[in-house]
Amino acid sequence: QTEPLHTVAPVILSVNWSVSHQIYLDLLWWSSFHLYHKLPSIVPESCLLILVGLLLGGIIFGAEEKSPPVMNSDVFFLYLLPPIVLDAGYFMPTRLFFENFGTIFWYAVVGTLWNAIGIGISLYGICQISAFGLTDITLLQNLLFGSLISAVDPVAVLAVFENIHVNEQLYILVFGESLLNDAITVVLYNLFKSFCQMRTIKVIDIFAGIANFFIVGIGGVLIGILLGFVAAFTTRFTHKIRVIEPLFVFLYSYLSYITAEMFHLSGIMAITACAMTMNKYVEENVSQKSYTTIKYFMKMLSSVSETLIFIFMGVSTVGKNHEWNWAFVSFTLLFCLIWRALGVFVLTQIINVFRTIPLTFKDQFIIAYGGLRGAICFSLVFLLPPAVFPRKKLFITAVIVVIFFTVFIQGITIRPLVEFLDVKRSNKKQPAVSEEIYNRFFDHVKTGIEDVCGHWGHNFWRDKFKKFDNKYLRRLLIRENQPKSSIVSLYKKLEIKHAIEMAESGMISKVPSSVSLSDYHEGKIKPLSPTEMENMREILTKNLYQIRHRTMSYNRHSLAADANEKQAKEILIRRRHSLRESLRKTNSLSRERPAAANTKRFLSLPKNTKLPEKLRVRNKTSSKVGDSSDSEMDATTTVLNLRPRAGKILRDQRLRQQRPPPDFRVEWKNEVDGSQGGRGEPQEPSALPQPSIGFRQPLLTRPRFGTLSREDMTADHGSARPTPPPRLVRQASQGERQRNKPENQPY
């Protein structure tokens, strides 16, 4: 029959047209939005996307005189939601998550229950008032409505929290809660929906519902973990087929989602658990390039999904499927806010008893205010069976109003409110140049002390898990048998070595020379003009090192902070350089020896110039084979034992008043062959204080080294190579100056 085709084709075409135009327009909009960088700070992106959607919907509605294609709930749940959750789960800081797991769980489960039942019952109370014309809505329908409207949406939360920089703890609380409450929402929703369709409800059904919750949640998590392990196991064997490694990651995560949904378990929990599991192990198995691909592709998918979701929401708003009822809508909104605030407040009082660090009022406010509703409620309401819910349109309208309110009003105002709550006690009357310095100084000190205290507290379960992990899981799931050194750390070592060589040519002149000292003594300090002060402040702001963020604040649109890596590199290089210098300086037993001779011997330039070339050659060959595997490296590596004997000498002689240099062994696995290995070793032990090899440095994340492409390296080599001869001269003259300085090293 050709009839259906005639009717179907235009529909498909129009849908295609609208969808593709939507995508096109939204991409256009989105790119221009990001170009104007002030805007995201005022208005969260989700708002603008919804506005665009509204516009589009309006256009379509006006053009075609019928409701534009509504977002299909299936499309949302099957295609649009998983990438976002996958992205969030993959980049979730797991340690922080588990540290706060109790609180997150508490808020997610009890909080959502509280909200759902509270809103449901109070709305039922309102419906009973016959003046509003709502008496036909039963208690169960209200409860169902309450359960779906109390779902805090991770998409919306993420979109808004990008603007306000809350501390990590708070961020993980709100975000974790929004992820976990999916289990509750699904259970409650299905529970009440089936209750609505049943004639009688027995007590046993309620208990079945509670049991159902546990099954849904835990079952989802188990499926996710299981498939995560399978994925990790698979990647153990993929070193021959590097190009499809990213595929496995996406495949298995999506599989976990679909499988969980198939069994009516919580798909979001499954995919989150899968992502978190995979993150740990897959990262070590896949090649550098696959890893980068995975991350970027994930970001791309989630960005596209999020954009589409919000635009669809806007489009779906315009249309004829609404029913407005002042009482219902406004009371819904009111109850959502009230119950959320009450819930957070009461729950926090209880949970604070169990926490070492109680949540302050400001924290509570942000948690309550950050409970944004988004696309999940939206789709859930569209899924309501209209046969059971004759007033479905009313529900749709109410949901839309709530979503718009939370996303727009709360999204836009949360930032000023957060700033308002941050009562700054310092008086800003006197903008001193030094202010920035002091601020940053104190921040660094605090961060440093925090790091000394460390993350690893006394946690029985975590230690147990780590032991189990090391003994069984890692051996099973990770390819290399050496738990200490993996490809990643090997790359790191290469890069560090290379960076040091590079830095030697560039950084030596950066040590404050005595030239500036002499200037000072001669001249007086003249009062600076305001513009000069401004310049200074600008210089400082740009150049002062940032505080390390323990966890990368999640950003949908960009990956790891490159600035942090660059800065980390500089600091590390400088420290090693200073340490080396100090060692060199004090190792000269007789102070009369001219520094020039010292430096020449130490730097041993001719060998230095050869080294970068060798590195490059080796890297070429190794990257041809495909990103390195340890077996190849082993053949060409030597273990460089740089054992500083200076330490012992110095302690005996007490030449230095500073602390003695560290006394540990550093193993360098690099591609330098044996002859190079002797560089500097017999003359000067160059103790490079590298944190123990293989120690996973969470800060030095992979992109830092992975993105250093070959082109970059050759460019650097090109600049490094011509410099040696002038370096010698400069170094010799500078060496003397450095000796004149009272303290050469900043220790």
Binding site: I357, F442, H444, D451, V452, C453, I539, I571, P691, L700
Partner: protein, 199 residues
Amino acid sequence: MEKVNRSRDKQKGKKDTTAEVFSHSQITRLYSRFTSLDKGENGTLSREDFQRIPELAINPLGDRIINAFFPEGEDQVNFRGFMRTLAHFRPIEDNEKSKDQNGPEPLNSRSNKLHFAFRLYDLDKDDKISRDELLQVLRMMVGVNISDEQLGSIADRTIQEADQDGDSAISFAEFVKVGKLHFYLLNETAHPCFLHTLT
């Protein structure tokens, strides 16, 4: 846990006010951290143990902070000293202010915190931050794009703003005055207190 109690009692045997400012669970955590850092398992930490902390390695002031843990001229720090240094960073609680006016000033008092920070600058311990010392710290905190001259002028400006007795160096009193403005940073609220790490 027994081990913890025993050693803690040992530490407490000496007249030890620092143990009293931390709560039980905090001490336990700190001790567990101490032991996890102490690779040589001899009950003391050396500088290498601190340097093994990777985050500290990329902290610009990392070495100075490490140095602050070690008393003058020593290379090892025991748990008591460890806690003592960390005690500087507890936030000041209001109920502590009123009690014990006659006793020794608590370690986390404002002036002690500032003194701690001051000592990070002042290496030669002459109770003054000279231009040179300031320059060193500045250089550590700043990237490679600032020339020495610029850095020198920034240091000059900093001293000028703080210096009141005209000796072209910052004494502790002057430092306190400037530090008070920014003191709240050491006292938390905007940023998570270091004790967050103990949860």
